[in-house]
Chain length 708, copies 2
Amino acid sequence: MHSLHPLFHPSSVALVGASSDPERIGGRPLRFMLEGGFEAPIYPVNKSGDTIQGLRSFRSVSEIPHPVDQAVICVPVPGVEAAVRDSIAKGVRAIQIMTAGFAEIDAEGRALQARIAALCREAGVRLLGPNSLGLLNVPTRFFSTFSTALNGLKPRPGSIALATQSGAFGSATYGMASLRGLGFSKIVATGNEADVDVAECIDYLVDDPETRIICAALESCRDGVRLRRALCKAAQAGKPVLIMKVGRTEAVAAAASTHTGSLAGNDVVYDTVFAECGAWRPQSIEEMLDIAYAFSVRPALPANADIGIVTGSGGIGVLMADEAGERGMALPPLPPAGREAALALLPFAVASNPLDMTAQVTSVPQGVSRSVATMLDHTSWGTVFAYLAHVGLSPARFAGTQSELIAVARNHPDRRLVLVMLSTPEVNRALEAEGIVAFEDPCRAVRAMAALATLAKRRESLMPQSGPEVLPRPRIGLTGIDTEDGAKRALAAAGLPVLPERLCTSAGDSAEAARAMGFPVVAKIVSPDITHKTEVGGVMLNLHDVEAVSAAHEELMARARRLRPQARLEGVLIAPMLRGGVEVILGVHRDPTFGPMVMYGSGGTAVELFQDVAFASAPLSPARARQLLERVRSTRLLRGWRGAPACDEAALVSALCRLSEFAAAHADEIESVDINPLVVRPDGAACLDAVITLRAGAAEPKQAAHAH
Amino acid sequence: MHSLHPLFHPSSVALVGASSDPERIGGRPLRFMLEGGFEAPIYPVNKSGDTIQGLRSFRSVSEIPHPVDQAVICVPVPGVEAAVRDSIAKGVRAIQIMTAGFAEIDAEGRALQARIAALCREAGVRLLGPNSLGLLNVPTRFFSTFSTALNGLKPRPGSIALATQSGAFGSATYGMASLRGLGFSKIVATGNEADVDVAECIDYLVDDPETRIICAALESCRDGVRLRRALCKAAQAGKPVLIMKVGRTEAVAAAASTHTGSLAGNDVVYDTVFAECGAWRPQSIEEMLDIAYAFSVRPALPANADIGIVTGSGGIGVLMADEAGERGMALPPLPPAGREAALALLPFAVASNPLDMTAQVTSVPQGVSRSVATMLDHTSWGTVFAYLAHVGLSPARFAGTQSELIAVARNHPDRRLVLVMLSTPEVNRALEAEGIVAFEDPCRAVRAMAALATLAKRRESLMPQSGPEVLPRPRIGLTGIDTEDGAKRALAAAGLPVLPERLCTSAGDSAEAARAMGFPVVAKIVSPDITHKTEVGGVMLNLHDVEAVSAAHEELMARARRLRPQARLEGVLIAPMLRGGVEVILGVHRDPTFGPMVMYGSGGTAVELFQDVAFASAPLSPARARQLLERVRSTRLLRGWRGAPACDEAALVSALCRLSEFAAAHADEIESVDINPLVVRPDGAACLDAVITLRAGAAEPKQAAHAH
């Protein structure tokens, strides 16, 4: 049994701070549960009064002469700790604290919250909150919340679960969903997350047989590992997670951190992790509900991202095709046999995809349903849309077509059929009962189904949470990585391609090294104390003979001694001068929530001007590394751009994998790695410059940054 | 009086093809008008029967013993021409043809349509259609349409006008709007546009006092000048035009052209023209209706793009701020006095922007309205949003806040107040009556208001349709522009910066030219028959002395003679070899609908990889040229990128203006101009290569394309 079970399924509940006034915060949960018909025993606890809303009341939890499985606490802050101790002493398995005024307020609140969390942890009691709006188990009518959204909108059972940190966000979603007629399995607001967080709720909801799709919202995430694992578990179980994370822009991230008292992670990292772990990140509550609706009607992802459109209006068909194209869905052409069949049915049709039935459809018996059937019969497209204008507003007139479409849908149980039309709620309910989705706005229909198709694709390439791809990696000694030379040696040891360079301590040494590797060469000053080599004229390119190399060695040392007299000079690095190839940037960034993220982008100006970079969690398998390449537009430059020979992508993929393994093995030590550039040529790749920065407090010196 | 007045306001109507069956196409318009109470005389015309739906019927229009102002024709195709002749003979001022089967079907249909259009034109009769779904003048209940959308949804009067080509698109929009309770002034579907097109309808609707905002949809546009003029007229009149144009993607444009039988214009050109002419291009019908709703409630654009957010939920506030940031709206910080006032009211508030009232607001009298008032009082932000959860679902409880908010709004008549909440239609109607907009979804609210703010900005920089900026430009002789040399001479004559180059016909000539301009130089073969100079080794760079130049001249001529023996060789172009600076691309493309469009983009790979280009209609004023620069990200490269000196933007702006004037003056002759690259340096700019292509059939040889 999941350890959150007692929180969602209490066998009895004490309501500490219960109020006789059904409008007050302490009165609402009791009222909602009494009105809803929660069947387990409820014990109001309140210092004054023997009866509360018709139930016998107690002065403390310990006074209750029956077993108590869960305590819901909404007394003011000063009474909370005592109530928790009292509840633990009574033997509860779970506690909800609705009271606000803890870590979100000040240091004192943080300390109190930590004390209460420790009490619960020691007692093996699960804690929701504090500052939680509560939770709902809709089928059991355990409506343990003080949200006023329940005043006008009764919870309706359904297969959508909702887990949010913010109660207000949860209420907003609940309200909008309820007005649309959507039903829920469980709803939970985790508040300050002293113990239970959204990630663990997702983990629980994956196991919940009443839940088929999970809506979630985060303002922050403190345990990236847990969140990743929960999302992947959901994807594997075929339960999509639609997870919002507000604070998309930087300015806004500041506002979120004011609000939640916790650091908002890097937004692009959230995008990356959600995608890797098979989740979808909606940009609005409405989008989230559209997708949840489409899935809850028929809990199956589309078999592929191909779509067909049957339409009574050419213009609307094109509008939907536009939207589909922008969302990554393909509209393959109708196969010849399908075209023939469509034209046999409707000679004036535009028998393409979209299939425009034209006004002729109204004069052909079963014209609509046979057109839809034709498209389904002659293709294997995952989703077929039918745009039917406003037919659903006249249920009597539509009844025939409706039955026919239901029969068509039954004949194609592995396909998704989506109607776009204006209709009455009754018509929609009848269609939904048969797994047919109905949308009013053509573009919203396409967007929702595109999200489900994307989720299907993501599910196929889930980031592995265990298994051979996540083997422990060998660690490498990191001593001396505070220079370019040292950083490159570490990367070479990790398996990245590095040129046959040599750190030389005399002019003769340099000349000899250059002769051995062949001209021309590059010479660079090496010092852990010189951050920007160019500032001291520390790089000399294109040296063509031994004289030039000797002179360069002396000159580089002299310049450095003159301009940085205190710097420890380790010598001069002699490296072959490489020409041609395409420059890319590889990097590692340690995200505070999700650990080492690998970055890949184009060299030149594309990163800065166009943000043409992509991230992925370390470590990377070759398949995931190749996916990373596809997410950067400049990768096209590697593939024979303007007649240039194609570059060695395998070498790039290998470099990404080795870098990611290095980053994963040293996740606790490394703050960042910058390989700028890695040059990729038709016959391999090479790191031309590298900087590794260690985490503050790790074994090595705090920071080392180098550049050409 | 506008010439479309008789179409929208007939003083009497003959319905040719009227049917006794109120469900048939010929019966519906009559039924809708009788049910609606259209007050002008209606004369059914039908070969059989004396009475139709209770009205006396006639066998032909000429038989009607009263004046007839408009004829609405829905007889089958073979009878249409006779009905038109009959109507013209009777003296109608306007004709609608609902019958389909004309230009959209085949050549015969096109010929018939052209004949009918000519008849009307000669008679001075305005023609709507053929293949039109009809039109509605809602206030007069002139419901001349056979759209079944009117079966269930009665037209509601309002200030939104709707003009579409496609009747189905119009019906879809009408249906969705009606379900939301939105009302219309006029609705028209132009169909095949043999005479009246959407642009002219927009022009008419700008003059219509009952219309405040215009929704439109195009599948194609045959008269770009008329459309531009209508859009600008609307913007100047303060009547926003929300204009959809389907066929955003190329694959899709093919489908649209199948559908409409007319060429879809270049999509990015539509974007450009709509923006220049002060219109907004919605991506979905729902978005269009959101904006129309927000404007119709209060027909004023926001005074600026600054917004404030008052929220009861930190998370929703951040969500809205995210959306606003992505839509180009700014959230300035709350000024100190505003912060103080907010904290005086609600000590626990996060007194920032968003202003998070926190749960404390529920315990402070008039907390919500005073928070909103505080923000309005202390700022001049054009739009203030208030997120109020689900308060509007309890009208009785909300009544107080509602009155207070209405009072606040009245105190700030020049500001836009937008509530985001769940509420009943009655609550919304009451707020809307006071100019307060109410949305359910936070993101949709922000998007709609962002569109209005953008429209306000666009209105300030409308493309001039006349006046000093659109003076006639001097024309330049275009003889000889079929070589690089000739193209550059034409551009120089037009005022663009060209280096002091010389076309040389002997090696000695070349050497002399090089000596005169200074070394190093570039030498290029010049021939109207050599399209790609690099293919014949026709460019030699970096020539440092007279010997090298002489040799290069001979070598270039020899290569060309060897590889292109038939080519006419004009000689060798000697030009200074320029180093440094930033390369950009300027171009002109003649759009078949909108005429010459100027293109500006970055040199290098940014155009191809990132579509980092922008277009503008020619001619350009300096102000519009500067706006064009702002729409290209790579423009940052000109502004001191990575420590480089800033380039001469004024020279670039001047080059854009001169090029645009040249393009405008020669709009009938020039197909395209490509200046690739124009190099911009700290001290000026220069066209390094140029190709001008004339239109097929223009005075000059058909085509000339050149490249380095």
